[in-house]
């Protein structure tokens, strides 16, 4: 599915994605999700459409382990997060929730570019620039979690961790 690129800079922390001041909404995900990246980009949730991409710089998702950050990104219809690099807890949280986190050269995308992700082929097509970007392969363990629809679905299926 094609989607639009929304560009962010380096070091976007989970505090930026969903601030600690909304801690009390963590058991009310529909309300919490309205505050996605609101300070970085006011009214972001009104601008994004299902299938769009967050495209960021280095160390996306650093800081707090709050999985709500990955969940509210997904709840707002974001198809995948593309970044030059990810913080490790956030990276796991994305795949655990069935949200691809793709490490690639995000300089190849500008705000508003129309792009399409092919996870298994390891490529992203930028229709606006008419260009294909290859990316670092998603580790097999992450592919497995994604193809099962997230870690909860994986455990439901196997009643165990069958990843290695």
């Amino acid at each position: 599915m094609k989607g639009k690129a929304w560009k962010f800079g380096d070091a976007i922390s989970t505090d930026h994605i969903i601030p600690g001041r909304y801690f009390y909404l963590r058991s009310n995900l529909p309300e919490l999700s309205k505050h996605l990246l609101e300070y970085e980009r006011p009214s972001f949730i009104e601008k994004v459409s299902p299938g769009d991409f967050i495209v960021a710089g280095q160390n996306f998702g650093l800081g707090s382990s709050r999985e709500h950050a990955a969940i509210v990104i997904k709840m707002n219809g974001i198809q995948a997060v593309l970044a030059k690099s990810f913080a490790r807890i956030f990276y796991r949280n994305c795949f655990n929730n069935g949200l691809p986190a793709i490490i690639c050269d995000t300089e190849k995308f500008s705000e508003g570019d129309e792009i399409e992700l092919f996870v298994h082929e390891g490529k992203i097509v930028n229709y606006t620039r008419n260009e294909t970007t290859l990316f670092t392969a998603v580790p097999p363990v992450m592919k497995r979690i994604l193809s099962d629809g997230g870690l909860v679905e994986h455990v439901k299926k196997y009643k165990d961790l069958k990843l290695v």
């Binding site: 600690g20 009390y24 280095q58 650093l62 382990s65 913080a87 870690l151 909860v152 455990v155 290695v164």
Partner: protein
């Protein structure tokens, strides 16, 4: 006949890092950096911001029990006591689940998860999984302690295992005597400034050198706690006589074992730090790697000083602040909030007069817990306000208004700053 280890059978000697040793023991086979392993978990915990989601994930998996209830702990430390009814409801949701499954609860006011598990649970060589990024604090005791999200914690609770990639290790060697007024906090802030907030991503940090060997457990925990601020998975310390004597003090002498890396382990790189060249160091807004020495900081007026948190909420931290503040008053335009890391720490600061000194100087004491660090209560910052905090993190808006500014420094810097009402050098008070 003894069969011998894999490396003996192969007839070659390949040393192991601390991370490889601990993960190999738990995987039941020799594993090396880069491999993916499924390992048994010794202890799993969540806090009140991540626990409710972990419980819902266990329920979504269709599971009703936890694997090892005695080693599954729900901490109430972030909203402690709860400032909002929604969070009180979350607490009750976790209490119910804990009761049904026989899991443990660390109630409101008992302290920060990482501090309490260090006091009561964590052993050298353990694998500890916590749904909180600062779980890496347990590395001070020689445990492979790492933070995860709620789903990974849910799996660890329900199945008693987790998958991990065996990390490459960056060796951090700190040598020499720390100058007066320079502490563990300055070592770790200096390190993060040097390697950056992404410099340790996916890696293990392993600390060694005579400065580290001479560092008390409180200082080791400060350093291990902030390993995640360099992106690292764990911040590991070998266990030694200091670890042993600390466990003895906690009434857990049986939990000690000596654990150190092999001398010929394979490291991705080595970072050398000369302790005698370090100065009091400050992380400036809004990133932990945006560091300056106190000499370079200039005139920064401060509205609030915050002493405590999982990084610096231990007796030694309060004692050094009290030494500086003894007989002095906090600047009239600055408030100082202090939050002990645990009930045990709180009692210690009361018994030895440390807390009395802090209160006499004008500080406000809060319930043991995460307090103001997460912007939830007990010292939330307003627009334009500046805070000097001993906490591990200074991201924009973390302590309240996105228009506030957080600087990080040692407890000594915090005390000197409270006196002067601006970021101040503690060396002149020591």
């Amino acid at each position: 006949m003894r069969r011998g280890s894999v490396k003996e059978r192969r007839g070659i000697h390949m040393g192991m890092t601390l991370a490889e040793k601990i993960l190999s023991e738990h995987a039941g086979k020799e594993v090396r950096s880069g491999e993916i392993v499924v390992v048994r978990v010794d202890l799993t915990y969540t806090q009140d911001g991540t626990g409710p989601l972990a419980v819902r994930k266990i329920q979504e998996m269709g599971l009703k029990e936890v694997y090892n209830p005695k080693k599954t702990i729900f901490f109430f430390d972030h909203a402690s006591p709860s400032p909002r009814f929604e969070l009180s409801n979350d607490h009750n949701f976790m209490r119910d689940f804990a009761e049904k499954t026989g899991s443990q609860v660390s109630e409101v006011g008992y302290g920060i998860s990482h501090q309490v598990v260090a006091e009561r649970e964590v052993k050298p060589g353990d694998i500890v999984i916590g749904a909180d990024s600062h779980t890496c604090t347990g590395g001070a005791l020689g445990a492979f302690a790492t933070g995860v999200g709620s789903t990974d914690a849910a799996v660890a609770m329900a199945l008693g295992k987790i998958w991990l990639r065996v990390p490459e290790t960056i060796r951090v060697v700190v040598e020499g005597k720390l100058p007066t007024g320079v502490f563990a906090k300055d070592i770790i802030l200096h390190l993060i400034g040097k390697i950056t907030a992404a410099g340790g991503t996916y890696k293990a940090l392993e600390f060694s050198g005579d400065t580290i060997q001479n560092l008390e457990m409180a200082g080791r925990m400060t350093i291990a706690n902030m390993a995640v601020e360099a992106g690292a998975k764990v911040g590991l310390f070998p266990s030694d006589e200091i670890t042993r004597s600390w466990l003895n003090c906690m009434g857990r002498s049986q939990d000690f074992r000596e654990l150190s890396p092999d001398p010929d382990g394979t490291y991705e790189k080595t970072v050398m730090i000369s302790a005698k060249e370090l100065k009091p160091t400050i992380a400036c807004p809004h990133q932990v790697d945006n560091t300056k020495t106190v000499d370079e900081i200039g005139d920064v007026k401060v509205d609030q000083v915050y002493l405590g948190t999982s990084c610096n909420g231990r007796l030694e931290d309060f004692q050094i602040a009290a030494r500086i503040l003894k007989g002095k008053k906090i600047h009239p335009k600055t408030r100082m909030v202090v939050t002990p890391g645990s009930r045990l720490v709180y009692l210690e600061t009361l018994k030895d007069g440390t807390m009395e000194t802090l209160i006499e100087s004008g500080a406000l004491a809060m319930t043991p817990g995460c307090g103001a660090c997460v912007g939830l209560h007990e010292g939330v910052l307003g627009d334009g306000e500046v805070c000097l905090a001993t906490q591990p993190r200074n991201f924009k808006g973390r302590m309240g208004s996105p228009k506030s500014f957080i600087y990080l420094g040692s407890p000594a810097v915090a005390a000197a700053t409270a006196i002067e009402g601006k970021i101040a050098d503690p060396r002149k008070y020591l």
